[in-house]
Amino acid sequence: MAEKKNTCDLFDCGHRACGGCGEALAARLVMQAAGTETIVVNATGCMEVFSTPYPETAWKVPWIHSLFENAAAVASGIEASLKKQGRKEKVVIMAGDGATFDIGMICISGAFERGHDFAYICYDNEAYMNTGIQRSGATPYDASTTTSPAGKCSFGNKLPKKDMPAILAAHGAPYVATASVAYPADLMQKIERAINTPGPCYVQVHVPCCTGWGFEGDQTVAIAKLAIETGLWVNFEMVDGKVTKVKKVVRKPVTEYLKTQKRFRHLFKPKLQETEIAAIQAIADRNAEKYGLDIKLPPKKE
C-alpha cells in the first residue's frame, strides 16, 4: 500500500470525547497536517484520557503520555536523540492550556531556550476540563469555573488570560501562531508551518468545550467563530517575534459571544452586569487596537 502522507485518520474516530468536543476536532486537523512521520508527546488532560483507552484508541502514530508538567522536556529528549541518530521524524507536543500555561511552564521555558526542533500545539479550552472545570492561566476574565465560582461575592475568574504566545515569542521562537477550529484550513496551514520551521514553534488553538463552557455540542464551531468575530480571540502569526498576519473582522459586540455560554450566564441573570460586560468589551477593544483587527468598511452611500 502506498504511503498516505496527509491522511485524516491518524487521529481516528471512535474515541470517548463528548459530542462536539473542540479539542478532538483540533487533534484530527493537527494530525492531518502533521502526517505519518510524526511522534506525538501528549501532556495529561482530557485528550490523553478520551483518546487512549483500548479499543477506542485514536492515535495511529507513536505516542507517549508522560506527566502533566513535563511534555516539553520529554519531547526535548526525543528530538535531541533523533537528531543524533540522523532521523527525520517530526516531534509534535499536544498539551492543554493547564499543562501549558500553568504546570508545564518550567519545562516549556527550558525547551524553548535550548531551541529543540518541535511543534508545541496548545489546545486551549480555557480551563482544566479533565478534572471537572477548574480555572487555569488561560481562563478568560469573569468565566465561572469550580475554583472561580460566580456567586454573591464574585463574578468568576478575576485574572486576565496569560499572554502565552508573547512569552514564547520572547524566548526567541521562530514561529508562533494562534488558530481556531472555526477556521480549519488556516489551522492546518499553521500546523504545517510550525512543523516545517526549524526550532521550537508554538501554535495555540482555540477549542471550545461544550461541557466546560456550557453549550450544546452542535454549537462548537459557531462559538469558536464568534470568539474571533467579537475580538476576544485573535488569530495571528508571529515570525521571529513580529506579528506578520492577523485575521481581521467586522467586530460584533462581546455579548454576542458571552450569551452563548453558561460560564458567563451570571453576567446576564438575574440582572445584566453592565460594568463587567464593559470590562470584557474593553479587552476586545484592546485586542482590536493592538492587532489592528477592525476591517474599515467603506462609508454607506446616502
Binding site: H65, E69, F101, I103, T131, T146, T147, P149
Partner: protein
C-alpha cells in the same frame, strides 16, 4: 448543638479545615482530591480567608509554607502525582518547622496510575519520601466523620509540633457519602508562643519544640532549609550542629509517639488480630460484626505515623497479626519490626476494597 449532615468525605475534610480555623488554601486540581479545593474556593473567601489556585503542586505546598509563616492555618490537598511533586517542599517544611496540613486522597500509582480508584500506596512515601532523616505525622480516616475530625486534629498537631501533618485519606473515603455529626465548635491547640528577644529557633522545653516567631511579630526571623543554628542562620558545615538539629527534629515527633497515638482496641485477648487504617477498616468491621468472635481482635489505627507501637502490645495473646492494606504490604512491614509473632499481609491493588470473604479466608488459614 450539633447537626447531622450527609456529606462526601472530601467535603467533610474541607469543612473540618474551616471549623479548625484554616484561613489559607493553596492547591492544584487533581482527582480524587479536587472537591476539597473546590469547596474551599467557594467557602474560604466568604469567611475572609484566601483561596489560591496555584500553577502546580510544587507551588501549592510552597504557598502554604509562606502563609503559615504569616501565622495562618494553611492547607493543601492533592493525590499521588502531586504528592510526588511536593516532596522537596515537605523536607523544607520539616527543616524549617513550618506547621501546615497536606491532604493526600490516595489513588492507584505509580505515576498517573488509576486516577479514580482507591489505594494506600503512599504510606511509606509520606514517611520516607523526602530526602534526609525526617519524622512526620500522618493520620488515616476510615469514615466521613473522621475526614472531618482528623482534619481538625491535623491542624492541632501541626501547630503543636511545628511539622507538616498529613491526612492520608484514600479515594474510597474521599468520595463516599455518609452521615456525619458536625459539632458546633472544635478543639483548638495554638502554636507555642514565642518569647520576644530570644533566638528564633531556641528550644528550652523538653518537648524539643521552639516557640513560633511569625513574620510581622517584631522578630527578624531568618527561615532557611540549610542547617541552621538556634538563631536561624545557616551553619551548614558544623557536624555537631547538624546532628543536634536533625536529631531534635526527629525526636520531637518520635518522643511524642505515645502521646499522640490514636487507635481503638477491640478484643485485646484475641489470638488473631486484624490491624487496619483507612478504607480497609470498614471491611474488618464487617467481619467483626458477622463473626462476633472474641478470639478475633482488631487494632484500628488513626495515627499511622509515628506508628503507635504500644498499641500492638495490648494484644498480649496475639498469635498472628493480619494486615489488609490497599498496597503491597507497606505498614505490615512496620508491624513486623515490632512483634515476635507471624504477620500476615493481605495486599490488594486495583482500586477495590477487600471483601469480607477475603479476610475470612485468611482467618481460616492453617497456621
Amino acid at each position: 448543638m450539633t447537626r447531622i449532615e450527609f456529606w462526601q468525605g472530601n467535603i467533610a475534610c474541607a469543612e473540618g479545615a474551616l471549623a479548625a480555623g484554616c484561613t489559607f488554601f493553596g492547591g492544584y486540581p487533581i482527582t480524587p482530591s479536587t472537591e476539597v479545593a473546590e469547596h474551599m474556593a467557594a467557602k474560604l473567601p466568604k469567611r475572609g480567608g484566601a483561596f489560591i489556585q496555584m500553577e502546580d503542586e510544587i507551588a501549592g505546598i510552597a504557598s502554604i509554607i509562606g502563609a503559615s509563616w504569616t501565622g495562618a492555618r494553611a492547607m493543601t490537598a492533592t493525590s499521588g502525582p502531586g504528592f510526588s511533586l511536593m516532596m522537596e517542599n515537605i523536607g523544607f517544611a520539616i527543616m524549617t518547622e513550618t506547621p501546615c496540613v497536606v491532604v493526600n486522597v490516595q489513588r492507584g500509582g505509580p505515576s498517573t496510575g488509576q486516577p479514580t480508584m482507591s489505594a494506600q500506596g503512599d504510606m511509606l512515601q509520606v514517611r520516607f519520601g523526602s530526602h534526609g532523616d525526617i519524622a512526620i505525622i500522618a493520620l488515616c480516616p476510615a469514615t466521613v466523620q473522621e475526614m472531618f475530625e482528623l482534619t481538625v486534629k491535623a491542624f492541632n498537631l501541626a501547630d503543636k509540633y511545628r511539622v507538616p501533618v498529613f491526612l492520608m485519606a484514600d479515594e474510597t473515603i474521599g468520595h463516599m457519602r455518609e452521615k456525619i455529626i458536625v459539632p458546633d465548635t472544635v478543639e483548638r491547640v495554638e502554636r507555642k508562643p514565642f518569647v520576644a528577644g530570644t533566638p528564633a529557633f531556641r528550644v528550652t522545653d523538653p518537648d524539643n519544640i521552639p516557640g513560633f516567631p511569625a513574620f510581622g511579630t517584631g522578630q527578624h526571623v531568618h527561615v532557611t532549609g540549610l542547617t541552621h543554628d538556634e538563631r536561624g542562620y545557616p551553619c551548614a558545615t558544623n557536624p555537631n550542629l547538624h546532628m543536634a538539629l536533625v536529631k531534635r527534629l526527629v525526636d520531637k515527633i518520635e518522643n511524642a509517639r505515645d502521646e499522640m497515638a490514636d487507635y481503638d482496641v477491640i478484643n485485646p485477648d484475641a489470638g488473631q488480630v486484624f490491624v487496619a487504617y483507612g478504607a480497609p477498616v470498614r471491611t474488618v468491621m464487617q467481619v467483626m460484626h458477622d463473626k462476633k468472635d472474641t478470639n478475633i481482635g482488631f487494632l484500628r489505627i488513626r495515627t499511622v505515623w509515628p506508628f503507635p507501637e504500644k498499641a500492638l502490645a495490648e494484644f498480649k495473646n496475639a498469635k498472628r497479626f493480619i494486615i489488609p492494606e490497599m498496597n503491597l504490604g507497606q505498614i505490615s512491614r512496620e508491624i513486623e519490626r515490632h512483634v515476635c509473632v507471624p504477620v500476615r499481609s493481605i495486599p490488594k491493588l486495583g482500586g477495590e476494597l477487600h471483601t469480607p470473604e477475603e479476610l475470612v479466608a485468611v482467618l481460616e488459614e492453617k497456621a
